[in-house]
Each structure stands twice: as C-alpha cells, then as structure tokens.
C-alpha cells in the first residue's frame, strides 16, 4: 500500500512540475528552466521547515513566491529571445541554478546537528513529515489537495479571457501584438506563475524524499517537465495530468519488471504515443463541455441572418 501512496506522491509533484511548464507553453514558450525553479522551491521550502522550523504550508507558499519572483526576473531577459534561442537560454539558467546549489553551503546548528544545504552532499534531514507524525497517506492527501487547487485555478483561468489571450499569444505573436496585447507582460506573467507552480512542486518534493541534491534537478528533469504538457496536449490541464500518470505511473513504475530494457521502451512508447496522438493525448482543444449548456444559439443565428 505504501508503495502506491508513495507513487501517488510522485505523481502529485510531477503534475505540478508539468503544469508549471504547461502554463508557459500555452504562450508558445518552450522553457527548460522549470527544473531550476523546482530546485529553488525545493531548497527554499526545505530551509524554511528544517532550518527555521516553519510549518509545511507556509514553507511551500514561501517557496512558490521565491521561485515565482525569480522566474519573473528571468522572464524579462529570457523572453526577448524566441524558439530555440529561448530553449538554450532557459537551459543555461537551469544549469546555473543547479550549479548554484552544488556550491551552496549554509548550515545552521540545531541542537548539535548541522542542518542545511551542504554543497555536493545535498540537503539532508528534511524531516517535517516524519517529525510531525504524517504518514504516507496524509502526505499524499496533502499533495493532492494542493494539486487539485492549482488544477482548478488553471482550469478556471483557461476558461476566461486571460486563457484565450495566452492561447492567442501562443498561436501568433505578431497578430497578438497587433490587437493590442502587451506581449512582455503576458509572457513575464506566465513565467512568474509557472515558476511559482514549479516552486510549489519542488517544495513538496523536497519533503517527500527528505534528502535533496543538485543532481536531481538537471536537464533530464527539465525535459520531463516540458514533455508532460506536450505529450498530454495543450487542450486542458487534464492532458498534463494524464501524461504524468502515463509516464511516471506506467512507463517508469509499471515497466520496472522488464529491467534495463525499460529505458529503451520508455522512449519508444513516447514516440508511439506522439505518432498516434500528434497534438497530445487529449488534443489541443478543451473537451467540449460547453455543449451540455448550449443555449438556443442556432435559432438566434437563423433569425439574425435571415436576410
């Protein structure tokens, strides 16, 4: 049972990581920096609880704010470049963050025990959950509560004008500018929101594993982050969720029994999935829920266009 609850935790934090890339990707920006923001969130939240004795909830909120603020600062210079140049720029930023934590040593003495990030050794004893008697189920529930809030918020935004604006910018920047949209503010805003969500995910991740080190937050994780929304489709937040379940639940965990061949099959299955569903598992458009609430549009249209 604990295995499945543990898996549920992994799915939760990866969903947040994927959603952080989803938001940015909606505006057409391929950001490889999400693992960097996730790392910042992980270290900041871990510092808050392990070094300064904060509760987990304010800790992850602080982590989200710090990551979001950092993402905003990165957003201004990074978003001046597009396409592949942006990929390279964000990739470089991600590596910069990783190497920052590789070099960061800042430990405090808590009752004879040194706690804090210790360079290549990583940050050990992030033990908020065990110290406070949360079991695996509690943690999974907590994580999924946060995931549900984030997903609901993004789903709601997607249905408002702001959501349509993001998709418009993602489709054609020149046209979006011509209709009076401020590209810089749109892009920087989504970078900040994406960074905050990644920070939230990272903060939770740090506490589920109790030990974090720089190596985890490398290019591979950044690739995963951007792969989720691409694989799942940009139609809605559920595409990303489905892709996380497919990748982490099925490809990573479900195929363990085939041993070393897993990595090979992993890549092959993603290729197959993208070939069968080129616009992502759930497609580019939101499922037409609206049709259930359809008004008498057809009638109205007939009467107004009768001429």
């Amino acid at each position: 049972m604990d295995f499945y609850l543990g898996l549920l935790q992994i799915l939760g934090v990866h969903t947040l990581l994927g959603l952080s890339a989803y938001v940015v990707l909606l505006t057409g920006q391929v950001s490889m920096a999400q693992a960097g923001f996730y790392a910042v969130g992980a270290y900041v939240a871990a510092m808050c609880t392990a070094m300064f004795g904060m509760h987990i909830l304010p800790a992850v909120i602080v982590a989200a704010l710090v990551s979001g603020a950092l993402a905003m600062c990165v957003g201004f210079p990074a978003l001046r470049v597009r396409g592949l140049m942006l990929v390279v720029a964000t990739l470089a930023f991600g590596e910069m963050v990783r190497l920052f934590f590789f070099n960061l040593r800042w430990q405090v003495d808590l009752g004879g025990r040194l706690v804090g990030p210790n360079g290549a050794e990583g940050f050990r004893s992030i033990r908020f959950f065990p110290e406070n008697g949360w079991d695996t189920g509690d943690v999974a529930l907590f994580i999924w509560g946060i995931v549900a809030v984030v997903m609901a918020a993004l789903w709601w935004v997607d249905n408002t004008r702001a959501g349509a604006v993001l998709r418009a910018v993602g489709h054609d920047e020149v046209a979006a500018q011509s209709i009076g949209l401020n590209l810089t503010s749109v892009k920087v805003t989504v970078m900040a929101v994406g960074g905050a969500i990644a920070g939230l995910g990272g903060g939770l991740y740090a506490h589920t594993v109790t030990h974090i080190e720089h190596g985890v937050f490398g290019v591979l994780l950044a690739t995963f982050a951007i792969a989720y929304p691409i694989l799942g489709g940009l139609g809605s937040v559920f595409g990303t969720l489905l892709a996380v379940i497919f990748v982490q639940g099925f490809l990573v965990e479900g195929l363990r029994f085939i041993g070393d061949w897993r990595s090979l099959l992993f890549g092959a299955l993603i290729v197959v999935a993208m070939n069968l569903r080129p616009t992502g598992l759930l497609g580019e458009r939101m499922p037409p829920l609206r049709k259930f609430f359809k008004r008498n549009d057809a009638l109205k249209a007939q009467s107004t266009e009768a001429e």
Partner: protein, 255 residues
C-alpha cells in the same frame, strides 16, 4: 487625423519607405496603391509600430505615436488586418474577437472583469460584430475551419473589436473575385459608417477607385502622387510607375 510626417524605413541599403508624408482626414476612406514592393505594407507596419521608422513621425490627432508600443497604439485607436491572414486558428470565431477587446474603454474596465470574467464570450459587442460580419452562426467554430472569405471577414471584425478610430486594411481583396470585391467595398463603407477612418492598401483597382475619397501612390518607397481617384487615373507619373515609360533611361520614381 492620421499624419505621417517625412517617414522613412531603410533596411540596410534598401529604402523601403522613403520620406513619405500624408494626412488622412477623419471619416475618410484613403487608398494607398503602388506596384509590388513599393512600401505599402511597410507603411502600415510603421503606423502600427511593428517596425520603428528610420526617420520621421507618426501622429494621431496630433499625438506622437512614433516611439509608442504597439498595444498603446491599439488603445489610442489604431487597428489593422494582415495581407496574409493572421487569425488565431486555435481559438473559436467568437474568441478571436474576445481576445482583441483592448481598446481604451475596454482597458478601463476593472482588472477582474477584463481578464477573468467567466462566460465573457456572451458579450453584446462580440455578438454585434459577429452579425456585422455575417459570422454569427459560426461563432463556436474554430477560426481555422472557416472559408477564406470568412477568415477575411473575421480578421476585420477582430480589428474592429478594440473600437478603433482608424482601421488599416492590408490588401483585403487579395484572392477575392470581382464580385467579392464589390461586396467588400460595401463592407468597407459600412465600417466607415461606424465612425472608423479607413486606410486601404489594395491592388484591385475597381475597388480602390470605387470607394476611396482620396488616395496616394507609392513607387520605390516614395510618394509619387496624391489626390482623388480621378486625379490619380489621369496622372502620368502613376501610369509610368505601373506601365513603364516610353523612355527607358528615365527613372519613373524621380520623374
């Protein structure tokens, strides 16, 4: 109301637009014609701010737009369409208009109701524009599913969504038949009826000559003539630009 004062745009050594000045009056339909590559689209791009001019100024009601960001120009009332249609194919017809509501009035709305109003697609202004463009029955279709003519109409409706004061149309009749051109003429007049000044770039002479009040002719980035359609039709320089001159050594641009 819209004034270009000595505006130039050079790309390296190419003078795409070279010292062009013109004034468009309120409520006018103003034509801008010229052979391919004469700088017409570049002129529109200079007015909307897609390009920064090398020299010169753009004024709207005496206000200097030259160094203003594109979205600020939209707010002041500049809107455009594109020569090669640029719709948001991933959005529905109604949503294409919805996202374009960035005019001065619309910007004054409360932040939440401007960006996060749920069900905002049921908006009177959107419905009105859809009916104006005869697209109401297609409002929930993806913009990418429209026919070519419908796309052109939607693009114009989208440009009108910000309640512009001046609408810049970049070859709206490209790819249209003569009959469609006549219908388009009616639509452009209807746009003027809404109180919008129109700058029309067009190659379809029947259309331009039929509906514009005044027009200017560009050749090699320079304005070579300006006047009513009648004036232009009888202008020797214009004929030379379009048909060539008898004297092959004479450069029409500087004739």
């Amino acid at each position: 109301m819209l004034t270009l004062d000595g505006i130039s745009k050079h790309f390296g050594g190419v003078k795409a637009v070279d010292d062009v000045s013109l004034t468009i009056k309120e409520g006018e339909i103003y034509g801008l014609i010229g052979p391919n590559g004469s700088g017409k689209s570049t002129t529109i791009n200079l007015i909307t701010g897609l390009y920064a001019p090398t020299n010169g100024t753009v004024l709207l009601d005496g206000q200097d737009l030259t160094s203003m960001a594109q979205h600020d120009r939209t707010a002041l009332g500049v809107a455009r369409t594109f020569q090669n249609i640029r719709l948001f194919g991933n959005l529905s017809v109604a949503e294409n208009i919805w996202v374009a509501q960035n005019g001065q009035e619309q910007r004054r709305q409360h932040f939440m109701s401007r960006w996060f109003k749920a069900g905002g697609k049921q908006d009177q202004n959107i419905d009105e524009l859809l009916q104006f463009s005869r697209l109401y029955s297609k409002k929930d279709l993806m913009a990418s599913a429209l026919s070519f003519g419908e796309m052109r109409r939607l693009e114009m409706a989208r440009a009108l969504a910000s309640n512009p004061r001046v609408l810049l149309l970049d070859e709206p009749a490209a790819g249209a038949s003569l009959e469609d051109g006549a219908l388009l003429g009616e639509r452009i007049r209807a746009v003027r009826e809404r109180g919008v000044t129109v700058l029309l770039i067009e190659h379809m002479m029947e259309l331009v000559m039929g509906i514009t009040d005044r027009m200017a002719v560009l050749n090699f980035g320079r304005k070579i003539a300006e006047g009513t359609p009648q004036d232009i039709q009888s202008n020797a320089d214009v004929r030379a630009a379009y048909l060539g001159t008898k004297h092959k050594n004479e450069e029409p641009a500087h004739a």
